[in-house]
Amino acid sequence: MIVTRKALNRRTLLKGIGVALGLPFLDAMTPAFAASTPAEQPVRLAWFYLPNGIDMRNWTPAEEGPLGALPDILSPLNGLKDDITVISNLTANWGRPLLVGAGDHGRALAAYMTGVEVYRTAGADLKLTTSADQLAAAAIGHLTKLPSLEIGLEEARQAGNCDNGYSCAYCYNVSWKTPTQPLPPISDPRNLFERLFGDDIVEAPAAHAKRLAMRQSILDHALDSTHRLEATLGGTDRRKMDEYLTSVREIEQGVERAEKSGMVIDPGIEKPFGVPHEFPDYFRLMTDMMVVAFKADITRISTIMVGREGSTRPYPEIGIADGHHPLTHHMGNMQMLEKVHQINILHAKLFAEFLTKLKNTKEGDSNLLDQSLIVYGSGLSDGNVHAHDQLPTVLAGRGGKYISPGRHIIYQRETPVANLFASMIERVGVRPEHVGDSTGTLAGLSLS
């Protein structure tokens, strides 16, 4: 498939992804992929991670069972009530201080999708386990161009130490490919675009095939070179080489798949450029690309960090000049808590927009939202006291006629959030013995 300029009306696109952002990126991109609907209707998995917890007073529906009018923070999702499940009482136990003391933000994120102890280190010996999304990617990632996609909405990094002896790697990465290898999210729109669609110049199909063959040879050389090298290295260094090798192999498989699909992007397409100034535009642009990635079956698994854990982003777009993290430590100050409330609503609005786009994207007799399971949640509930239980969790989508949404389900206190993730990856055929500290899957998600 060649994504041509014709499909992507250049004028429209310029408007869509430039500074103006008059038309969403998605509308411009969709026609280009109209023909790329996969033969089957795969299930997609996604996780939206919210930093710093939630104003829980305005999150939890009062009643269990069918969803009535949603509490204030979730109210932007009112129109999607039949597509979401609100899940209460899940816990991320390993985020808790237990015997090691503070560092709740680093732990909250690092433990969220891994469900294991976050080994306290400033860097020498990072240790977690493979995160739930990566368990799925390891099993089904080979079916798509990209096994998984990691996105982040916080561009700049904080210098210095991150969180009380926990390496910054724990505060910035929700996806972990191995116990020691985080997958840093892509936060630059152009880089995300190029990750999805490549950044090749356009050549005739034969010339492009020739280039891909060269690329294959270059990667083969990299593999050979590494193997020769490994014999001379110590154990830890060899582990580094293994990470490198794994990545080379993954790219090699990507090149192979590209050879088969012949997908090339037209140079006339203007790539997204720079990080939009306003957070809502940034959120929309990045999640639009996520929709395209799902639609075109470039990947079926994605995580997106709405902010790094402990994010200090202010939201001047809605009149909030203070940083998010300091606000969540409101110590009962109602003015501060109200601002947290407003930030939570803004995020939910943007999430609702994203879900609506998925819902409006048809796939056979279904739509992308119905085909997805998307978590919207945090590893902290009350950010003020760093509570790691009763986590705010919304599960959107039906996972392909699997979930019966439109309900509020209250589980027993202390049910591991990993049980939810185990249920999700089971839906794509991945059945590990456990996901971190999961004790099973969640009963009752499906009414059947």
């Binding site: 210095g160 002896g165 200090t312």
Partner: protein, 765 residues
Amino acid sequence: MRLTLLLLASGSILQAAVVPGSFDKDVQPILRDTCSGCHNAKVLSGGLDLTPYMEASSVLAKRDGWEAIVAKLKAGEMPPDGIPRPPAEKMDALLKFVQTQFDTADKNAKIDPGRVTAHRLNRVEYSNTIRDLLGVDFRATEEFPADDSGYGFDNIGDVLTVSPTLMQKYLSVAEKIAARAVGGDPLPKPGFFSNKEHVRHLSGSCIELTEIVEYDADYIVHVNLLGHRGAQSKPVTLVISVDGKPYKTVTVPVQISDVNKQGGATQRGVEEVKLFLPSNQHVFRAEFVNDEELEKIPAAGRTNVNQNIFPDTIELAGPFPPSEPHPVQKKLLVCDPASGPACVDRILTALIHHAYRRPVTKLDVDGPTHIFNQAKAAGYTPAQSLQFAIATVLVDPQFLFRLERDPKAGTSAPITDVELASRLSYFLWSSMPDDELLKLGETNQLHLAAVLDAQVKRMLADTKSSAFAENFSGQWLETRSLDAVKRDAKKFPQWNNELKEAMRTETNMFFAAVMRENRPISDFIDGKYTFLNELLAKHYGIEGVKGDEFRRVELTTDQRSGVFTQGSVLTVSAYPTRTSVVLRGKYLLENVLNAPPPPPPPDVPALNEAAVGVATSLRQQMETHRADALCASCHAKMDPLGFSLENYDAIGKWRTEDGKFKVDASGKFPNGKSFDGPAEMKGMLKDNMPEFTKCVAEKMLTYALGRGVESFDRLTVQDLVRQTTQHDYKMQSLILGIVHSAPFEQRRGEAKPTVAKPTQEVAHK
């Protein structure tokens, strides 16, 4: 008297000598009677249970814990207020006994150099290495995902990984960089390519466009002017600049032509400049300068084509073949690759030698040569085939990683001179060794003390050492966080990008001056000079600095001296809307004393920082907070430091009032010493130079090695502090001390390859 047998990690058995005093008489009673009431298994104050410290053997067996205890006692932080203190002579006896035990053990200890994990080039190192290897201006920070950091720095081998996302980038940029270096791909047909909607109107007479250009080529910057002014108006001067550098200055008539006047058409003008641009993001600006008449035109009329002339839009056209050959291509292409295998071999051998930063073998050249031949066979031109061969080198792990050979398991040995060359160049230049350094490495001369010293001096004098100033100080002093700083536009209307960049420049230049002029590191605390431009000088209230250029300025008042009163540091240690004594106190503890405070306990009693300056003064709030014993012991140390900087607002502007309250920048430390204002606080920091030296030494050692400082580095750090102190705290004596230290010059072999644990959670099918 008892003899303590201690089994060290290295396997050697040491005997602690008999020392005066005894544990049972001098130490144990104080622990038992004074300390263990809080520090026991149940209460666990500060996370410390002293039970395992009640044995004499613990002094060496639990050395790290004891070091921490000694530090607290020496600083007078423990026992806290409210707990009766043992008489001074008893405390002294305890400290003396423990210290003597330490010293005796250290005298016999062999330094363990530790080991540095294979180190992937981080983004800055990658860019600099590409620049020095191929002369290509490539900005990895715009292309690669951010590097994770550890120990406060982003060059830690253990934390730097290669994700598939990064690998894909490595592959695609390798091809592009190679193409830029060789120039073997034909340029596409030139044309207008920029997006008019990206043009920003900064003012009535200044517009700006940020665009990426895709090729190293010539481009035309095309500026459209619109409108005209009255008949009496004088011509204006238009300046077209790229990335802040003016390329064309031209006088533009502002009156309407007769033809347009008669035809009723809008006056349009065009100015162009053609210039070479490397493939990168660039900022193009068109601006009328010294335009005095603009003031006379009412704001509403400034975009009216019948009242004013203004730059309307910028367009870019290209790429055109460069008018002059790329200087790099001359250096790389010493012969014509089309002339045959001998030339290709010559080019690749030289390139790989530098790219792998070590002597080159035939095997090294074989792989890329094979790729060259394969490409040629596939029909690519020799130049294009060479590009594929170069791309092969750029994705090879020997280019992407700094690799060192391991000595035999469990033993330590000096690294090779070639490896030393790379350690040195990535420490001081964040880049590959140059020819001189590499040659000294390959001829085994670099480790010689005199040679090494001369090289360090040479490297520091080289402009490339600015990388050290920027990367080390940017992370030690956290000025890199300026990237993420956002300020409330209502409270701080003067906050903008220019001010932010000026602050960053000031601190970088200050650090570079201390480094190159070999000033004492105490200058970081109170050096009475700095580097300012007009904007920043005005921000500081300093007169007589005119223009955008930064220049050295002597500081004459108590308001500013040293980095902790520079705008950059004061800004990154504040919140978006206000200052925070806790943040600043924590900042100073971490970066001046390398003693990060323990984190607050859960369920902290309310501290309402938001109400500060409105309902109560900050000091009242903090004192209420500190009345709680749970918080007191940490805040007693942290807050005074923070209060000392209260005369600076959240963007580092001097103030004497915060809201409706007068700023009180006095404080008292747990050891009883008190101060009033930043100058006195700095004086106290300076009284404790060994502590500060230790902090800087530990941070710099971390950065130099690319690994965390471990407890076995204690002796190295002690040596560094001693040497630096002997040399009047001169910055270069610290740098030289690090370069000559065992961890920098040696390496320990890893005991056993750690077998990667299979991820037990995965159970496919």
